[in-house]
């Protein structure tokens, strides 16, 4: 499963951050690493982007970026 498929409210654990280049680096810098747990908080009013809660911080991504993150449901 990839992160863009998770519905708001869903809780998942990251299996792999497969995003290349600057997207991958940026995700890593924000704390998207293997084993980290996160929760999908909500979609934006126009569905995209989507907001996540991880380690007490809120981060928003576009679905097309979240697609690179492989996750497993908790």
């Amino acid at each position: 499963m990839t992160l863009d498929e998770v519905r708001p409210g869903g809780r998942v654990r990251i299996r792999r951050n497969g995003a290349p280049g600057s997207v991958g680096q940026r995700l890593m810098d924000m704390g998207f690493h293997r084993g980290v747990e996160l929760q999908v908080v909500r979609n934006a009013p126009l569905v995209d982007p989507v907001e996540f809660l991880m380690d007490g911080q809120h981060v928003s991504l576009r679905h097309e970026e979240a697609r690179f993150v492989e996750v497993e449901a908790l």
């Binding site: 890593m28 380690d55 928003s60 970026e65």
Partner: protein, 834 residues
């Protein structure tokens, strides 16, 4: 100087770095532009004991890679400028992520002091961090602050003053990558013998595939290439063995290390529950309430800055007038018909500068309001709500603010709008935003709208105003999309990944400092240019001069007026002294001074005193108690009327004969499809410098004829252009809506985009677009026999439809596209040197 210290401030975004900076430096700070990049670097000074500390506030960065300008600036400064101290500001409530940056700074060998900021927020979340334990673990001093309440100021100063910095022995354990790092480190030392660089850091960077570091190695020539090849081979074998690429491995190692360290030095007093931020966000970015709140905030921003700020300008106007009058007093006095060149020229410049200064109150309020929104943390929410819409057209969620500032509704200014594009992380969207912000409705476009709406659309003025303010936004979206698909196609685009930081209460000091600073920046950048441009326009509108016959004709009429005046005052005791032309001119000028004083509301005693001082011999004729003064005044009023008319005629003749006037006439055949007459052309041309002048120029061109001196410009225009229909007016308004940016904006576009070509594009495309649309409206409307309002509706529909279609064209996401290619090519490239 040996007693001085150079200190750099480094931290992640939203860690409260600028509050720490303000706490330390107070008001002793200024913005310094980092050469070559549009990253603001603030500098400041403060004293600690005997030492002066010069502190540089580097841009906030999450990490120190080479993916963004901010990160490069920060990294280069720490590495190359070798500051004596680096104060690493960390958000205590988000310690784990903050440490991620701290580790990289330590790896670079930076002389670090860690500043745990916002400890109060952390405590509020139930997180207690033991600063001493952290200091012991990291091997560097740790100080705790709550900078927005000035807590911890002393502790920071003490840490700064305390002696020498030892380098820390702390190391992130990269686990299975360590042997590979050691090998690379050894090779690096061999490649640069005798140098002392942070080798381990460079080795880590090489395994992170850092482009900038790789380039430095390539610059070392053949051995450098060999080293890179070695590293690539090592990285490949690591990937084979571990099943993960070295870059993610490094990131994960830092994260694991930070997690463990956070656990060792902190404890939770209670589990983190729902925070205030969560509660606010449940409303602020709610699917239904969020957009409503956004609209409310935009409305409040307008009301506060444009409407209320505009009222503030009323207090400024008298002062600017006083300034103008003071300057006028020092200039050679005006002749009967012609003003001395120096006088006219200087006054033109003063007018131009004043027309810019008038916006200062608006800017102060506007910038303060924006600073509040920024400090509160609302900006990312705004981007979150609108990103989907804007992205369709190649813009970004963060384009919202620049567009609002530019004047989504009527009444903004493109200069702060373009300045505000700095926050847009995505380079391509940033350029697209810079280029379309000038399409918004700046304050200076408004006078022409009001003039034309008043004459030709009196019944539907309200609806037409909505039409004007929305077509610009619709067109801006369309243009942004076209630009993104064409000229901006190959510009780098970056991910949206955006933190939604906790809400904060802003500090008054922070807001005031930022508001003053940005206003000053605007004035400094623009003031000189305004003067140069005003000078250029002066020349273009004054030369070549009208033919001698024209000038002579006016001179004869002036003499006739004087004769009439003298005849009227022949019976008074002053007749003899006014027979001399020089005295007459001085008398007239003194009368003008009197008018000005009265306009300013100066007390009569003061006026009398000043006028007597100015011209003791003529003053009795103006303010004397002799009954003949009344007769004189009456004759004067007639003479003044004639004089003004002649002066207006002269300036009109001047403009017609000048370069600009001739251009307007020459262009008439070309502008016919849009329905513009040559007078309109001249007005539009003269507005290039500043759009405010469009109405003023029209005022000169449609000069009062015969007895209609008291008629408004609107009435004069209607009478003198009998062929003018609402359709003409609509075409003109459409052109004005897309009018090219003023010189100040063009300059700001150059500053923000760093290239003249973008500035020229920003100047050029609106002319074409505006003219095409005006021609479409006028020619199309005439052919179909549409009324002005109908044509407006049809045009609106067409524009909306075109923009809608453009929105359907899928945008390219370069990163994701290139991504697959890049992964494929990495393996190929491993074998061959780059």
């Amino acid at each position: 100087m040996s007693g001085d210290l150079r200190m750099a401030l480094v931290g992640q975004p939203n860690c409260g770095k600028s509050t720490v900076f303000n706490m330390l430096t107070g008001a002793r700070q200024y913005v310094a532009n980092y050469p070559g990049v549009t990253v603001d670097v603030k500098k400041g000074k403060f004293r600690v004991g005997e030492k002066t500390v010069e502190v540089v506030d580097l841009p906030g960065t999450y990490s120190l890679t080479s993916y963004s300008a901010e990160e490069m600036v920060t990294r280069d400064y720490v590495l190359n400028e070798a500051p004596d101290l680096v104060l690493n500001v960390a958000d205590t409530s988000n310690l784990k992520r903050s440490l991620y940056l701290t580790f990289q700074l330590l790896e670079m060998g930076a002389p670090l002091i860690v500043n745990l900021n916002m400890t109060d927020v952390a405590e509020g979340h139930g997180l207690l961090v033991d600063g001493r334990a952290l200091a012991a673990e990291l091997g560097v001093p740790v100080v705790e602050t709550v900078a927005n309440r000035n807590r911890g100021d002393e502790a920071v100063r003490k840490a700064i003053s305390e002696g020498e910095r030892r380098s820390s022995s702390f190391r992130v354990d990269y686990g299975s990558l360590e042997p590979f790092l050691e090998k690379a480190e050894k090779s690096l030392r061999a490649l640069f013998p005798g140098k002392s660089y942070p080798w381990r850091w460079i080795a880590v960077k090489l395994f992170e595939e850092d482009e900038a570091v790789r380039r430095t190695i390539v610059d070392a020539g053949e051995p450098g290439l060999a080293l890179l090849e070695e590293v690539d081979t090592l990285a490949t074998s690591f990937e084979m063995a571990e099943g993960a690429d070295s870059r993610s491995h490094i990131g994960l190692a830092r994260h694991t290390c930070a997690t463990a360290l956070e656990q060792r030095v902190s404890r939770r007093t209670r589990p983190s529950g729902k925070t205030w931020t969560d509660r606010i966000d449940a409303v602020a970015v709610n699917r239904f309430l969020g957009p409503l709140l956004l609209l409310g905030i935009i409305y409040a921003l307008y009301e506060l800055s444009i409407v209320q700020g505009y009222k503030l300008t009323e207090y400024l106007v008298p002062w600017l007038n006083r300034l103008r009058i003071a300057i006028e007093g020092t200039l050679p006095p005006s002749g009967f018909l012609e003003e001395p060149l120096l006088r006219e020229f200087t006054l033109d410049l003063v007018t131009a500068v004043n027309s810019m200064l008038i916006y200062v109150p608006i800017f102060l309020v506007l910038f303060a309001a924006i600073a509040v929104l920024e400090d509160v943390g609302y900006m990312p929410r705004m981007a979150f709500i609108l990103d989907r819409l804007f992205r369709r057209f190649g813009l970004h969620g963060q384009s919202t603010l620049p567009l609002i500032l530019g004047g989504v509704f009527v009444g903004g200014c493109a200069v702060p709008g373009v300045m505000a594009t700095r926050v847009i992380a995505d380079e391509r969207a940033r350029l697209a935003t810079i280029l379309v912000v000038p399409l918004m409705n700046c304050l200076a476009k408004v006078p022409l709208y009001t003039l034309l709406l008043g004459i030709y659309f009196a019944d539907t003025a309200g609806a037409m105003m909505v039409f004007i303010s929305t077509i610009t936004l619709i067109a801006a979206l369309g243009v942004a999309k076209v630009l993104t698909l064409t000229v901006l196609r190959n510009r780098p685009s970056s991910p949206f990944v955006m933190e939604m930081p906790p809400y904060h209460l802003p500090t008054l000091r922070g807001i005031v400092i930022r508001s003053l600073e940005r206003t000053w920046l605007f004035l400094r950048k623009i003031a000189t240019v305004i003067v140069v441009v005003a000078a250029g326009v002066f020349v273009l509108t004054h030369y070549p001069s009208p033919s001698p016959e024209v000038l002579q004709g006016l001179a004869i009429r002036a003499d006739e007026a004087k004769v009439t005046f003298r005849a009227a005052v022949a019976e008074t005791p002053f007749a003899a002294s006014l027979a001399d032309d020089g005295t007459l001119d001085r008398y007239l000028n003194l009368q003008e001074s009197l008018r000005q004083f009265r306009m300013l509301g100066t007390a009569k005693a003061t006026i009398d005193e000043r006028l007597t001082a100015e011209a003791p011999d003529v003053a009795p004729l103006v303010i004397g108690s002799d009954p003949a003064v009344k007769t004189l005044d009456r004759a004067f009023r007639t003479l003044r009327g004639t004089r003004l008319e002649l002066q207006r005629e002269l300036s009109s003749e001047r403009l017609n004969a000048s370069v600009l006037g001739r251009m307007g006439q020459a262009m008439e055949p070309m502008t016919r499809p849009a329905g513009f007459t040559w007078k309109v052309n001249v007005a539009l041309l003269s507005s290039l410098a500043a759009k405010e002048s469009s109405v003023a120029t029209l005022g000169v061109l449609y000069r009062p004829q015969g007895d209609d001196a008291n008629k408004t410009l609107g009435e004069r225009m209607q009478e003198q252009e009998r062929g003018f229909t609402p359709l003409h007016a609509l075409a003109l308004m459409v052109f004005m809506a897309f009018y090219p940016p003023c010189i100040a904006t063009i300059l700001m576009v150059k500053v923000e985009s760093r290239r003249w070509k973008w500035a020229l594009l920003a100047l050029g495309y609106p002319i074409l677009l505006g003219f095409a649309c005006a021609a479409l409206v006028f020619t199309g409307g005439s052919a179909l026999g549409l009324s002005g309002t109908r044509a407006a509706l049809v045009f609106y529909g067409v524009l909306l439809f075109v923009t809608f279609l453009l929105g359907l064209i899928p945008g390219r996401a370069p990163e994701t596209e290139k991504a697959s290619k890049r992964i494929a090519s990495v393996t190929e490239q491993e074998a061959s040197p780059r």
